[in-house]
Every structure is written in C-alpha cells, then in structure tokens.
C-alpha cells in the first residue's frame, strides 16, 4: 500500500533507487508493530513523575557500576557463543554443502533436531547431563577418569555449552547456503595453478564463505544478547545477563522507566557492536554491493587479511602433512559425527525421559510407562496449544519470509545511501529485549482489539522473525549473479516473472533457511505469548512454561517427543514431495 503510494512519485524511473521500495512493506510493518509500541515504552525512560522530560533515570545508570559490569558479561557471553558456534559449526556447514542435495536434506534433519526442542526442555536436559550427579560426571567417575565430579555447570562453561548448542544450528543454516553457492571450479582453477589443498581452502574457498560467516556470526551474537533462560538455569552467580535484569525491572519492580533505560543501553551498545563488526568483517558487503565494501575496507586490511590466511594455509598444510592420505579423509567425517552427536544428545536423552514412570525428570528413568503421553493426548489444553503453535508458526513463517525476503532483495539491489539505515532497522527487533516488545505490543493490541487473538500472536512473532529471514536471504543474495536477472529481463520477462522464475529458485536454499528460522522463532517464543495471549490463547511454550514454573514433570519431555515426531514427519514428506 505504501509502496504503491511511493511509486507514484516522479522519481520512479531511477531504477537503482527504485529497488529500495521493495523494503516498503517491511518498513511499514515494523514502524507500526515495532517502532511505535517500543518507542512509546522507551519514551518512559526520559519522562519524570510529572510527565516532564528528565535525565534522572539515565543518571542512575551512569552512577551504578553493576549495570556496566553486567553489560560486559552479556557481551562476553554472546561473543563467546557466536565465536564457538561459528568455529565448531563451520566444518559441519562445509561438509553439508559438499553433499548431494538429497543427502544434504536428510543430514540437515539431524542438525535441525535441537531446533525443535524447546529452550526450556533443552536447559533441563543439560542440567541432567552436566550436573554434579549428572550423566557425564557419572560416566567419567565410573570410568575412573576423574576422582571427583567436574564443575561442568553453574559457571560460564555451562552457559556457553547450553547457548552454543542452541545457536549452532542457526550458524550452520546461515553459512551453508552461502557455501553451496561457491563455485567449486574456482578451487579447481587454483589447483591447476599449483595450490595445494590447504592453500586452495584458505586462499580461495574461505574468503568466498565469509559473507555466510558474517551473517551467521551476527545472527548468533545478537540473538544471544537477549538470552535469559539458559544463564538462569546453567549459570553461576557471575553469569547474569542484561535481559534478566530488564525482566526484573518490568515484572518484579514494575519500574518501566528504568527498564527503558536498560533496554536503551542494550540497544545502543548492540548497535555500536554491529557498527564495529561491520568495519572489521565487512558486514556492509551484505547490505550494499560488494564493490562498495571493497572501497571501504582499506588496502592494508586486505593485505593483512590475506597474509593471515596465507599463514593459516601454511600451518594447515604442515599439520595435515603428518597424516596419511587415508587418515586425512577421515578427520572431517569424524569431526562431523562428534558435533552432530553434541547437537542431538540432549534430545536423545529426552526420549527415554518421556517414557519414565517417575514424577521427575530423571536419567536414566527408574522405570517405563506411557502415562505422560496419555496425559498429553487426553488434555484438550495441551492439544489446542500444540495446534495453535503449529498454525501460528506456519503463518508467521510465510509472512516473515515474504516481508523480510523482499526487504533483503531491496537492500541487495539498491545503492541508496539509506541502505545501511534500512539494514539496521531490519535487525532492530532482534536487539530490543523481547519483554519490551511484548509490553509495547500489549498496549497497541489493546487499542486494536488484538489482545488474546491468534492474529496478535502472528503479528508479534513476525516482528521477531523478520531479522532472521532478512539476514538469511540477504546472505545468499550477496553471491547472486544479477546478470541472470538482466538476461531474463532482456529476453522479455517482467519484473515479477524474473523474481518468480529466476531469482527465487536460485536462492531457494536461503529462502528455506529463512522460512525455518521464522517457523522456529515463533514455535519457541515465550515472552510475547505470555503477554499477548494472557493465558487465554496458549501456545506450546507458554503451556510448557506454566507447567514448569512451579513443578517440572515429564509431560514436557513427552510433548517434546511428539513435536519432534510431527516435525520430522512433515520435513520427510516435504522432502519426498520435492523429488
């Protein structure tokens, strides 16, 4: 609607600027359902008791050291999570990208397994694995490897394990489409020119995969900034993240002005981090054409980068040279098996727990029964929550992929200087703490009659999903050859035809990733569900949360198993149909 209004303006014929209008639906959507409600809430932070403007709340922030310390802890945990998600996930993404499509899709199911297990259930699975009396410590102690239990949890290590586990699928799924888009003939060409394996990888392949890493790192880093369940359950006394403090201010102290101050602090520092990140790793390569990025990154950083990569290549070839040809071929599959095991282990543990006869989440279960499944299937509340969650997630995924995808297309095609601003705006819903969005949306929805409606849930979840769909599609578009579009257009295809028949099929991998991200974001979302539903239109995570807030019982495990079975069946059928 806004797009139509804009395109009526006389500047229409400027083709390049024109593309930015594809972002109009996304901008309009986010202005109404994100900027206005959140802005209204953040405005409270500069309002005094009488309604006049004041800086007193910010003054308190400046004079209280603890919030700055917690900001640093938050950044440290998010940074480590992003780093390890990329580092450990890169070989997995590489391995997947080398597979034939059919087999890759099957293998992807394994990588996606942790995606379908709720954050809440995953946190408890890790507690059973890492505890003092946990599975790992009992195994290590039983095998005589350790004398006393290792402190694997209630410290930074535990938090990082839990968070990397949650974030790695996101990193892999963002990197993989970029990697599979890399032209393998380039490596072959380097080979014919005399480069060995290590050099071919570090000097040719790796630089080409950087857009995927940049996108994956950004998504995992920013998503991690907002975590609160994992640090609460797996952390020790020093692992407190800013989102936890904001929740306390909103819900327990009902000091929304100061909550607004803390949210602004997180938002501003996250934006600064993005800006620095952009300069270091050339994130602008995502938002603008690659030529602009080349111009901005100075010659010496490029030279330094290549020198570093060359060193890495030397080291790698020196190390791998020690292995026999056969041994070298087994390193990657062995590593992949290990990482996949890390990803699926907590979920695998949930399956026997779902069949336990005990009233508690215990591993191994003392006996077996199907009582938790019959409790689930006989409960209209659980069933309706499950149906609603699937419906809302599906609608969200479609809406967010369409809106975010068009915006990504706009950014990739546009040379407008507003590209960077639009780019930052698209990411903003990911940075603003969800509780702030949730409270803001409640006030807006109350005025629109959308409180406790499914549509309200879909809108709220779409706001949260747009950053993911936008980045996932922007990353694949980065390597996209626009001459294909031009060729089609010169052969007489209309703009929509080009999009439908050329662009979308070629960037399919990114679109599928985007769809999955949006689906999962909605499917696992708790905060908005709590506020917008008020408990009347319960989703699965909200229902689980109600069930576990006071008393954990194995119904949660049974629900996770049911969800896993349904999702796997859907994905397998979808895979069949595609062939």
């Amino acid at each position: 609607m806004t797009a139509a209004g804009l395109s009526a303006s006389p500047r229409t014929f400027r083709l390049r600027a024109n593309a930015l209008w594809l972002a109009a639906p996304a901008i309009a959507f986010l202005v109404v359902f994100f900027l206005i409600p959140v802005g209204r809430l953040l405005f409270l932070s500069i309002q005094g008791d009488t309604g006049s403007l004041t800086a007193e709340h910010y003054d308190r922030l400046l004079h209280t050291e603890v919030y700055w310390r917690i900001l640093i802890i938050t950044f440290r945990i998010a940074g480590l999570t992003a780093f390890f998600s990329l580092l450990l996930g890169y070989p997995l993404a590489y391995w997947l990208s080398q597979l034939k499509e059919q087999r890759r899709n099957q293998m992807l199911l394994l990588v996606l397994v942790p995606f379908w297990t709720s954050y809440l259930v995953k946190a408890f699975a890790w507690m059973l694995l890492l505890g003092n009396q946990g599975v790992l410590n009992r195994l290590l102690g039983g095998a005589g490897i350790t004398d006393s239990p290792l402190p694997l949890m209630y410290n930074e290590f535990g938090v990082i394990v839990g968070m990397v586990h949650a974030m790695m699928p996101l990193a892999v799924l963002t990197m993989m489409p970029v990697m599979s888009g890399i032209d393998t003939r380039l490596s072959q060409a380097a080979g014919t020119l005399g480069a060995n394996g290590a050099h071919r990888f570090w000097m040719v392949y790796f630089p080409l995969s950087i857009p995927g890493m940049a996108a994956g790192g950004l998504l995992t880093f920013i998503t991690s900034l907002g975590f609160f369940i994992v640090p609460a359950f797996l952390g020790g006394r020093q692992q407190t993240m800013l989102a936890q403090l904001i929740i306390i201010q909103v819900q327990e102290l009902v000091n929304w002005a100061f909550a607004g101050v803390l949210a602004t602090m997180l938002l501003v520092s996250a934006l600064i981090a993005c800006w620095i990140y952009n300069h270091l790793f050339g994130l602008a390569s995502l938002s603008a054409g690659s030529s602009t990025a080349d111009k901005t990154s100075s010659a010496w950083t490029r030279r330094f980068g290549f020198a570093l990569l060359e060193k890495l290549a030397w080291i790698t070839s020196a190390v791998t040279g020690r292995f026999s040809q056969g041994g070298r071929g087994k390193i990657l599959p062995g590593y992949v098996a290990l990482i996949v095991f890390f990803l699926v282990a907590p979920t695998l543990m949930v399956i026997p727990i779902a069949f336990t006869s005990s009233d508690f989440l215990e591993f191994p279960p003392p006996g077996y029964s199907t009582r938790w499944f019959s409790l689930y299937f006989n409960s209209p509340i659980w069933i309706s929550a499950t149906v609603r969650s699937f419906g809302v997630a599906f609608a969200t995924a479609i809406a967010a992929t369409a809106i975010g995808g068009l915006a990504a297309l706009a950014i990739a095609r546009s040379r407008s200087r507003f590209g960077g601003v639009v780019f930052a705006f698209m990411l903003a819903p990911m940075i603003v703490p969800r509780i702030v969005i949730a409270v803001g949306l409640f006030y807006l929805f109350a005025q629109m009659g959308l409180v406790a409606t499914n549509l309200g849930l879909v809108i709220g979840h779409t706001v949260l999903s747009i950053p993911f769909t936008f980045v996932a599609i922007a990353a694949v578009l980065k390597g996209y050859d626009w001459r294909l579009d031009q060729a089609a257009a010169s052969l007489g295809a209309g703009r929509f035809q080009v999009l439908r028949l050329i662009t979308v099929p070629l960037i399919r991998g990114g679109v599928i990733s985007a769809f999955l991200f949006a689906f999962v974001t909605s499917f696992d979302e708790l905060t908005i569900a709590i506020f917008v539903s008020g408990g009347l239109k319960s989703t699965l995570p909200k229902q689980m949360w109600d069930d576990m807030i006071l008393q954990l019982n194995p119904t949660l495990a049974a629900v996770s198993v049911v969800v896993l079975v349904i999702v796997t069946a859907i994905l397998l059928v979808a895979d069949r149909l595609r062939r």
Binding site: V66, Q133, F233, V254, N255, V439, I549, Q551
Partner: protein
C-alpha cells in the same frame, strides 16, 4: 478509543452469551447466573487443586462459570497493562503481598469488600481492603537425610557452618529472604530482623559465598536440585521442597527461623465484573473450601479454622499449622517495598565480585 471499547464490549457480549449457554442447566441466581469469571492462578499444581477447592464448588453454588488461566510468577506488569488499557482479560488474579503493594501504590486494585467480620478465622495478615489471602507459603530450608544423617542442621547458623555440616549448598539468586537468612545465621533474633542491617547481612553473606555451589532462580529448579541430590542443603519455598520429598527424595524440612508470606486474590481496578469477582473472593475465605486444596498443595490455609478438617499428618507439612508457624515470622513487605530496588542493585553487584 470509543471504537476499541466497542470491540472489546462485543467480545465480552459473546463471552457472556457462551457463559449463559454453559450455565443454563444450573440453578440460576438472578444477579450473576450467566457470568463467566476469568481467574488467573499460579498454574501447575495450583490449577487442579484450586478447581477442587474453589472453582467447582463456587460454580455449583452460584451458577457462574470459572475459567482459569495460568499467570506468571510476578503478574504485576500484566495486571498493570490490563487495568491501564481497560482490556479485562482477567477478572481475578492471585498476587503475592509484594505485588499487592506495588499495585496498590499505582492504584490498580479494586476493593474486595471482604471485612474481618465476614470471614471468621482468617489471619489478620491475609486481609486487606483490596486483597484476600488464600494460602501461606514460607521460605525455609531442606537437607538431604542421606548425606547429613545423624548430624542434622537445625538453624540458619548451622546452614552457614560449613565445617560442622559439610555438603553442597544452594541459595536463591535474589536478595529477598536471602538477606534475612544471612542475618539469622549471624545471630540476629527472628523478632528483631527488620529493619535489615544491610552491612551486617552482606558481611555474613561474604562468609558463605565461596561455599554456595548453586544459586537457583526458579521454584521448579529448587525441587530438581533437592530431588536429584545435586545439593545437600537448599533454601526454598516449603511446597517446592515438599514436592521433592513427596516424590521420594530422602530429605527433611527445617521450619525453625522460617519466613512466611501470603498469596491471595486481587481484582483489577475498573473491572465491570467486579461485583461477581468480589463474590468469588469472599467464597474463598471459607475454611472448609481452603482445607480441600491442602491435600494436593503443601500451602497453609489462611483461615485457621480449616485445620478442623485437615488430618494431623498432613498438617505437619503446612506452614500455618500451629507447630510450624510459631517458629516463623511474616516477612516485612513494608521494608522490602521501600528498599527493594536499591538492595537488588547491591545484591547483584555483590554477586559479581
């Protein structure tokens, strides 16, 4: 604004209609016969227990319908949103005393109309003009009997004594109750706790800090920690710790030097169904109804007369049973509402050092 009010009115009319259809067979009382009240309780084990004790008997007596939803641990933000936007998705909601105080300060609560004379036997701490207590919970500690057999800790001073009582310990990652526990451990008598001597409390906490293995954050987590044997001594809410014991964990509760508090009903200000809500809230003061939830929830009835119909064995694990409540005191909401923001800041800073 008018337009939106119309929308919500229409929705309410639809709900009313649905309520009427459901309630039609019951014996109708003229005023509220077709009303559906949406009641927000703490969820989990509360929902079935409150249905048995309050919702079902109330429906039967009045012909109204009770639709229960689960609210969050601290529903203050939602409560505020509901009143300020006039979107009354909840008609009655359970609140802690601290939530009551916050909501009262912001003028978000409707009077309940329940007087002490209307509810004989009710504890005076459980009745306010805008709040009616339904249950008493207490913060105490539990220890594993398999680890601390003969040598059982009996006070917070024992909990702090790591030489005499070795074992892994857990405290709540929150200044509320934890500061009181630190002072009790340091020898402050229960009756002289408030106003809290903060410097003394933090000095006492400094001593135990290196020996705390887990700082728990949620009630379910505290049950899990005790049940799995992850820790040997843990502070917590009596019913959450009792849940582990009911599930077979070898553990014992220590009521001595406990702090109790009250949870109960509040009505959002301006609620058009406030009269029906008041009727419901008053119903919940009845001792025979309160006694019914104690078989499933280890919380104490606020009406002491309820113990007339609770068996002696079960009474042992309920906070308001005379033998237990005499060892405890009410946590001071006045002090906390005054100091909570600053103390939380100091506690968070202390944790990081």
């Amino acid at each position: 604004m008018t337009k939106q009010n119309n929308i919500s009115l229409t929705r309410r009319t639809v709900l009313l209609g649905a309520g009427a259809a459901l309630a039609a067979p019951a014996i109708l009382r003229p005023a509220y016969g077709s009303t559906t009240l949406t009641v927000a309780d703490p969820g989990g084990p509360f929902s079935p227990a409150f249905r048995k004790a309050f919702y079902a008997p109330f429906e039967k007596e009045t012909g109204m319908t009770i639709a229960n939803v689960a609210r969050e641990a601290e529903p203050t933000a939602q409560f505020k949103s509901i009143v300020e936007t006039g979107t009354f998705i909840w008609d009655v909601c359970t609140l802690t005393l601290s939530a009551r105080m916050i909501l009262e300060e912001q003028d978000l609560l409707e009077p309940t109309g329940v007087e002490a004379a209307d509810a004989p036997g009710m504890m005076k701490e459980a009745l306010f003009t805008n709040f009616v207590g339904t249950d008493v919970y207490s913060t105490i500690f539990a220890y594993r009997t398999d680890k601390l057999k003969e040598n059982a800790p009996k006070s917070w001073t024992d909990f702090w004594n790591v030489e005499a009582f070795p074992g892994r310990r857990a405290l709540r990652k929150n200044p509320i109750d934890t500061l009181e526990q630190a002072l009790l451990a340091d020898g402050v008598p229960l009756d002289d706790l408030y106003p809290l001597d903060l410097d003394r409390a933090f000095a006492s906490l400094d001593k135990i800090k290196p020996h705390i293995d887990v700082w728990w954050t949620g009630g379910a987590q505290s049950t899990q920690l005790l049940q799995s044997g992850e820790v040997d001594m843990i502070s917590g809410w009596n019913a959450r710790l009792q849940a582990a014991i009911d599930g077979g964990a070898p553990a014992e509760l220590v009521w001595n030097q406990g702090l109790y508090s009250v949870e109960g009903w509040g009505i959002p200000k301006g609620n058009p169904k406030a009269d029906a809500a008041r009727e419901f809230v008053k119903f919940c003061t009845r001792p025979e109804q309160q006694a019914l939830y104690t078989s499933e929830l280890a919380y104490g009835p606020t009406n002491q007369k309820a113990y007339d119909s609770i068996d002696a064995e079960r009474a042992k694990v309920l906070p308001t049973a005379p033998a237990n409540i005499s060892q405890m005191r009410l946590a001071s909401e006045d002090w906390w509402s005054e100091n909570r923001a600053d103390v939380t800041e100091r506690f968070n800073a202390w944790l990081l050092i």
